[in-house]
């Protein structure tokens, strides 16, 4: 059984992606017999390119993903350079880490509620500073350039890159190197960036690529914050895919191929930027300048990080307030009355998507945890570590733009008659849940002192007993933490649920995003609040269970 675990993991990850991509290609070139497409043609690309504003849509997607990634990475890198190994850093870390588990859509709604013309920031400063008693007539959300969307993506990508960099940091021996640089008279930030920056970046490159791929094809955040006329490419693709006129699926598939090429182009541009950055860093390092006066830059980096984290947290707070708000006139910072009406009115409606969300997330997480444990246990028994090749496969689902393979997968499932099946939705969630579960569990698993297992074996315990009685309980905390992350990832999935679920499995995320255009803040507040509360509930369980089980075991507190 265990022997086939890695094969199973690879099949679960790459199968849907490879078959999905192939199945996207065929209709893009005209072949889809069920819709009457029997011969190969490139005509659908012609139709695609003739769509109004298509290049504009593609340009928005391309610029948005590059700017988002650049800003997020610069912000995180600058913050680490300015503050790592300080008490302030530790505090910010506790603030930022939980933000990772919040679904993109919930964070985007919170952000929208903050920055909108009638949003909370404007309410805070009005009418005292602005003199406004009515919301200003300016377009902040859904601006044609996509700035609101980029900002909404940045505040969610920053926690992700923050945690990735945090995990990579010990491998570049920060303290020793920083001491050398400081000893030579380099400023704190310059010393960090010039000495640790390049190796640190190399460690987290795949994660950065994942951010680019995600931002280049994001749908839910774009629907909430992005431009509408024209919308970013991925949003328009999904529109065509869901069009009642089924023949539009040919064009949608052609568009998915374009999306794939666009993401590839973005990655290529990024590779060029990497080169450029490398040369600049070398020049700077060779110039011998010390940049020892970096107080202002440090304060700026610290403030920017606080601002991003603060925006997300405050946004979530405002979501909660809206869901309980009675009458709330414009310049007031708080509602003039509070009510349970919104909750009681929508409690029935919200029950079904809540249950579906939990069922899908639990099923996908359970499978992901079992497969991951099987792979890691096999690796331990064979006594070899996972190579970098395995890591590449884990990142595959995060590097391929979602529409490019989900469109084809949906058509494959339709042809097979399984589209809209519960387990089909679980399987496609698994494609995204499994990498996160694996990535978060493999490090603590491999870090466990292997002498415990040796000792148990020398006491006569067979391998299975060692797994169940020693390794699993000792790593229970890490297993549950990885499960909580997988649970959160599943809750946040929008496009896979929408396309593969065929509308039969409404989740909190699909429902919340569906409410975006309606703009009823109270109802959005209810859905988005639940959407962010659910991952927190997962983490709470993951923390409480081991704490209760091992309440009387001091040795289990740290590990």
């Amino acid at each position: 059984m265990l022997r086939y675990a890695p094969h199973l993991a690879i099949a679960l990850l790459s199968g849907p992606i490879i078959f999905g991509l192939l199945a996207t290609l065929l209709p893009a070139f005209g072949y889809f017999p069920a819709l009457g497409g029997n011969e190969l043609t490139i005509g659908h690309f012609g139709t695609l390119l003739a769509q109004q504003g298509l290049w504009r849509s593609a340009w928005i997607s391309l610029s948005a993903c590059l700017i988002t990634t650049l800003v997020s990475l610069a912000l995180v890198m600058a913050f680490f350079a300015a503050w790592s190994n300080t008490r302030f850093f530790a505090r910010v870390q506790h603030l930022v880490s939980p933000l990772l588990s919040i679904p993109h859509a919930a964070a985007a709604f919170g952000f929208a509620f903050m920055i909108a013309p009638s949003g909370w920031i404007m309410r805070l400063v009005s009418p005292e500073l602005t003199g406004l008693t009515r919301p200003p007539d300016v377009q902040i959300l859904n601006d044609p350039w996509g700035f609101a969307m980029m900002a909404g993506l940045v505040i969610k990508e920053v926690p992700f890159l923050f945690l990735v960099m945090l995990a990579a940091l010990p491998q570049v021996r920060p303290l020793a190197h920083q001491k050398v640089a400081t000893g030579l008279g380099y400023g704190r930030m310059a010393g960090f960036l010039l000495v640790l920056g390049p190796p640190l970046y190399r460690q987290m490159r795949l994660a950065v690529f994942a951010v680019i791929a995600y931002a280049s094809s994001v749908v839910d955040v774009a629907l909430i914050l992005g431009p509408t006329n024209p919308a970013p490419l991925a949003v328009r693709l999904v529109d065509w895919m869901n069009d009642p006129d089924l023949t539009r699926r040919f064009m949608a598939s052609a568009g998915a191929v374009l999306q794939f090429l666009l993401t590839a182009l973005a990655l290529l541009i990024w590779l060029a930027l990497e080169r450029l950055g490398g040369v600049v860093m070398q020049r700077l390092a060779a110039s011998g300048r010390r940049y020892s006066r970096d107080r202002a830059a440090r304060l700026a980096a610290g403030s920017a990080m606080m601002l991003t984290a603060g925006l997300v947290l405050a946004g979530l707070g405002v979501l909660a307030i809206w869901s309980f708000a009675g009458y709330w006139a414009f310049p007031d910072a708080l509602p003039s009355s509070w009510t349970m009406k919104t909750w009681s009115r929508h409690l029935d409606a919200v029950g079904a998507p809540l249950a579906v969300t939990v069922e899908i997330a639990l099923a996908a997480t359970l499978i992901a945890v079992i497969v991951t444990l099987a792979c890691l246990e096999r690796e331990t028994r064979l006594g070899r570590g996972g190579g970098s090749r395995a890591l590449g496969i884990l990142y595959l689902p995060l590097l391929v733009p979602q529409p490019a393979f989900l469109f084809g997968l949906q058509m494959l499932f339709l042809a097979a008659g399984v589209n809209g099946w519960f387990w089909a939705v679980v399987m496609v969630h698994l494609v995204f849940v499994l990498p996160y579960v694996f990535l978060s569990l493999s490090d603590p698993w491999r870090a466990l002192d292997d002498r415990y297992a040796k000792l148990a074996a020398s006491l006569g315990a067979p391998v299975n007993r060692i797994f169940w009685r020693i390794r699993l309980p000792m790593l229970l905390r890490a297993v549950l933490a990885a499960a909580a992350i997988g649970f959160a990832v599943s809750i946040g999935q929008y496009l896979p649920t929408l396309l593969i679920g065929a509308g039969r499995w409404p989740t909190l995320t699909t429902e919340a995003v569906g409410l975006a255009s309606g703009g009823d803040r109270r109802v959005i507040g209810v859905y988005a609040f639940l959407q962010m509360a659910l991952p927190f509930a997962g983490f709470l369980v993951a923390t409480l269970v081991p704490a209760l089980l091992f309440a009387r075991r001091k040795g289990m507190k740290i590990g």
């Binding site: 002498r451 074996a457 020398s458 006569g460 315990a461 309980p473 009387r552 075991r553 001091k554 040795g555």
Partner: protein, 224 residues
Amino acid sequence: MSKKAGRKSAATGGSLCFHDVRIALARRRLIDLDTCIGPGEVLTVMGPSGCGKSSLLAYVAGFLDPAFDASGNITLGGRKITELPAEARKVGLLFQDALLFPHMSVGGNLAFALPHDPMMNAALRKARIEEALAEAGLSGMADRDPATLSGGQQSRVALMRVLLAHPSALLLDEPFSKLDSELRQQIRDFVFAEAKSRQLPVLLVTHDPADAAAAGGRVIELTG
């Protein structure tokens, strides 16, 4: 109690013998050993770190990293153990650290080691564990959290845990090096006395000449 356990292992026990055992890493010969350790005897292997003395223990216990090339046979009481899986070799291991399983109570750690025996009900097993604790001077501590024990107490629990599994030989991997000097003497005497009373062959790996002197047996020096 120790007498009873001693008789038991003496019945199944015997010498730990190395037949032309050679271990090499990247063509560099680390170990070349052809000798027997008799029941109750201690063989000390000394040398600086990296000389391969731990790889010898790993080979006996069944954990040698595949990067090493090892040849030769090891027999324990006439039984060839080299091809057996680690859990079937009946060699007890003690490391530098006590490595008590942190998620189990002290009694749980000992129960994990005590082999399943259809003739023994839960009460008997519990009594057996309590006896072992008493022997280590730790009466009534079965329900304690191992993390709350002192270093010396942890070492003694670790030894009792190994002995409860009825090993036919003991492998000691610098087991005293992390204890402070007064405690070290005390634990050392306790370990050697228990091994002697059970007539177990003992392979001790150390870089501390005082350990070798206290063991009182033959000493093999590895230069590395």
